[in-house]
Symmetry: C2
Subunit: 547 residues, 2 copies
């Protein structure tokens, strides 16, 4: 239990008032802005409070309110949500962001799921240096071409020039593989399966966006080597399934498992699989995480050979796979609303906030005791509950505050609740309110948290699915693209055709490209042709603009 | 259970042989080298084996043996231990090292202790950028003077020059504190307590040493701000106590809690406390971890002010504190021996290795089954046990292999053990062997692991304490220094005197300096004078050369 403020006191009355701020899901962002901009209590609130002496203690708070609606200006809305929910602070170097505890706790929750899962698969954690020499970085030609423009170079230490410039890892294939070559001698050294949790740097200049596109980000990168392609292929999919679970089970974000086109695959690899999410508000796909089979390209360049059990020379098959702090941004974009962040209970640092709602002359001591007891009971049952007993904020202010921070469930306890031995539960996702007997508190809370987790996923999936549009012709494609759809189209799977589509759709909003060809492929019926080239279609592929 | 090799087979007989390699603690490094350099089996071994057909299957292994003794050449011994135990791989950029799973698992174990402890103290994890602008970095004058020569600068991205060079954090005071100033407004925003697990870079040029002094290293850095000095002072000591526990309870390394001299304190801080370890073989002290009170110096420079509960302006009191991957190096140096690494059971990834020892014509299936059952039973009881059933290595080779890797306890199961329903336990720390009934396996193993943990600490403490030498005069000081002692001396606590001692002791082995003044101070008796200046002594202080 982490209590916010500890001493008891009298609170302003505002619960179940007619103030539109407290009517659940219809709260308007513009009103919220007004609310937070005005010295508290607002005129409306003041009429309901006779305790004017308390007014001056209530903190003037102008920075917390949402001023932009998700529908009106998505980009600004997003910046506002991540900052006001205290996930992100903008940093004085463009494209770098501070991940505050609210964000890091989510990162840690995902790590606590993913890390034991890969350990079960026999993958071990290691840590390789941040730096790589130019010489090694450039060993795989396609790979370096893919990353070269984004590489940050260290050229000086103190006041001295380094003898040779040293790159900061944009990813660690070239950092690690010379040592794979050293460590792998015989078939008994295989498979070699390593992972590291680290930061990487890609000095991108286009549209830096917190979590989504930043110059430094946190990720895990797995790097594995096998004796056979079959083993590598199998692991690619096992990891991809873990990525699906990160998104769907934890972040409640639906994703499509698929394979990337030749144009979009990892530079230097054999093939790339990914989980792809979709942001309905902007009509853009977003690559959620990637699991690459590198084939033997890197093995060739770095001479990662081994002697098999018959004494013959072989070359390893390699994979690399990663998910990053981008996951958190996708979650914010998908679930957030005009009140702020919406957190799936599984990743919420605070799952339940308990707020005392004492009317004037109520028995505040008894109410506070009931709140404390509720928090204690929930914590004991493993629910992450927190208590907000701060005296200098009204219950109404606290409702908005914790809604902004995305806390999944609010518990209000007032004098009437005390009388009836009940508490009021208010869901962050739907705004729905329900009174439950105190004796059933833990059970009901656990039930509702599960229901919120499910509902967030189902709602997001419905919204995503409603955006999917099957097209067969170029005209249909363009209409769907302009309508921000997630386009599903039969495609000839030719690189030149994708390049052509990109060229023809280039514009202010960025070109359309393939997102992925889902692993789960519909049948290609006789005579189905590519929407873009008119050639025989080879696969169904998702297309769209993307982050 | 992670089995190394799976199928059963016949093993060469070597247990309880007269081969000096298997006589426990008297094994000689030079012989080990010979052993590993020769095609296996060695002539000595061959006489004991009639199964010559197996010879060619046994792997020739030349790289694992220790070639240097700890007493003979400590530096080379250390390099050999960290590499051959597979903790470290040297990297192609000088001063950068690869932390292999054997090292990372220790880092993770320490993290799993420390992270929940600081969370209990209300400290939250965040992540701040790797980069800092020159402008901000230089805000605290003393601080930047302390770090400037070691700062790595990024000046290019891709082929373009950056507008201004950007520094890689050597530590994050200047990265974080501008945002502390932004986040802290009133007394209710205090205390602000953040921590991050990250990498930092200090481009040092002197004596790079794995773990101990590397250009990039892993650490946690805590940064906290309080309304009062009392709170800051208290936290400094609470954290220092956690650092003591990291060393003493986990790594079994005795440390001294103390306060740094003015000359040795953190650049820009008010005072520095540390835990200091000592390496008897080199007679050098080593700073284990530091907990700094920064006072208000940074608060002044970064204007971290707040309004107190009376509406008056105050300035925060700050701390920063860190321990790094250096911890692992200190552990290696203190416990390692001529056979390789010695791991305290609490941090050993594998605490017990089970090795089948089938004589010729023995019932290998039954032996293997007994081994598997032992591992299973131990794992179920929470003991990290592993099975080595590899057929291409002899039991003797395996003994040396796992000794090199520092595994605290070995279990041997042969036909005679099977007959007697017992197993043989062999301790890594003392080489002591004991046969225990299979029915008491778990209980005995847990008991012995605890005993090993304690014994490692006690032995290290005895050795350390035997090096402590109290001196009162300059002559005694110099004699003790030349004898690689941990010198304990009354001191006047004057900066100029420490500078003078450094100047007078400068030589091939580096100057002597203060290590710390222990928090637990002996009384300064009337008339006690400083060993160096002859002025009245103010405190007892540890002196010596250091890493």
């Amino acid at each position: 239990m982490r209590a916010v403020g500890t001493s008891s006191g009298t609170f302003l009355r505002c619960r179940r008032s007619k103030n539109p701020l407290h009517q659940g899901k219809n709260t308007q962002a513009s009103l919220l802005f007004l609310f937070f901009s005005l010295p508290f209590p607002s005129p409306d609130m003041a009429t309901k409070s006779s305790n004017t002496a308390k007014k001056k203690e209530v903190k003037k708070e102008t920075k917390l309110g949402m001023t932009v609606k998700k529908d009106d200006n998505f980009g600004e809305w997003y910046s506002e949500v991540v900052v006001h929910s205290e996930m992100i602070e903008y940093y004085d170097i463009s494209g770098c962001y501070i991940l505050r505890p609210q964000a890091m706790s989510i990162w840690e929750t995902l790590q606590k799921f993913f890390d034991p899962e890969i350990k079960k698969m026999g993958i071990e954690n290691a840590y390789f240096p941040l730096f790589v020499t130019e010489n090694v970085l450039q060993k795989e030609k396609d790979h370096i071409e893919g990353f070269a423009p984004e590489v940050a170079w260290v050229t000086k230490s103190g006041k001295s020039d380094l003898e040779v410039p040293i790159a900061i890892r944009p990813t660690s294939e070239t950092v690690m593989y010379p040592y794979f070559a050293k460590w792998i001698r015989g078939h008994r050294d295989l498979p070699l399966k390593l992972n590291q949790w680290c930061n990487v740097v890609r000095w991108e200049f286009s549209n830096p966006t917190p979590f989504i596109r930043s110059r430094e980000f946190l990720w895990q990168e797995g790097h594995t080597a096998f004796a056979t392609k079959e083993e590598a292929d199998q692991e690619v999919l096992e990891i991809l399934e873990l990525y699906r679970r990160v998104y769907e089970e934890y972040l409640a974000v639906p994703v499509i498992k698929g394979r990337k086109s030749e144009l979009e695959k990892f530079a230097g690899g054999l093939y790339t699989t990914s989980v792809e999410a979709f942001i309905p508000h902007t009509g853009r796909g977003i690559q959620g995480a990637t699991s690459h089979c590198l084939g033997q390209n890197f093995a060739k360049m770095f001479q990662i050979n081994f002697e098999d059990d018959k004494g013959e020379k072989g070359m390893v098959w390699q994979n690399s796979w990663a998910y990053s702090s981008r996951t958190i941004g996708v979650m914010v974009m998908v679930h957030g609303d005009d009140k702020g962040l919406v957190l799936p209970p599984k990743v919420a640092r605070v799952q339940v906030v308990v707020i005392p709602v004492p009317y004037k002359d109520a028995d505040t001591t008894a109410i506070k005791a009931a709140c404390e007891s509720a928090v204690k009971e929930l914590n004991t049952a493993g629910v992450r509950a927190d208590l907000d007993t701060r005296e200098n904020y009204s219950p109404g202010w606290k409702y908005s505050h914790w809604e902004m921070k995305g806390v999944p469930l609010r518990i209000e306890i007032g004098p009437r609740d005390l009388e009836k031995s009940q508490v009021r539960l208010v869901r962050r996702d739907t705004g729905a309110k329900v009174d439950v007997p105190m004796t059933e508190l833990v059970e009901k809370v656990q039930e509702i948290l599960m229901s919120i987790q499910e509902n967030l996923f189902n709602t997001a999936k419905e919204k995503r699915d409603a955006c999917i549009e099957k097209v067969h012709t170029w005209d249909e494609f363009m209409t769907a693209l302009n309508n921000k759809k997630l386009i599903f189209a039969p495609w000839c799977d030719e690189k030149e055709v994708e390049e052509d589509v990109k060229a023809r759709t280039k514009g202010d909003h960025g070109a359309a490209k393939t997102l992925c060809s889902p692993l789960d492929q519909p049948e290609i019926t006789e005579g189905t042709v590519c929407f873009a080239s008119g050639k025989p279609a080879k696969k169904w592929t998702y297309w769209g603009r993307s982050y």
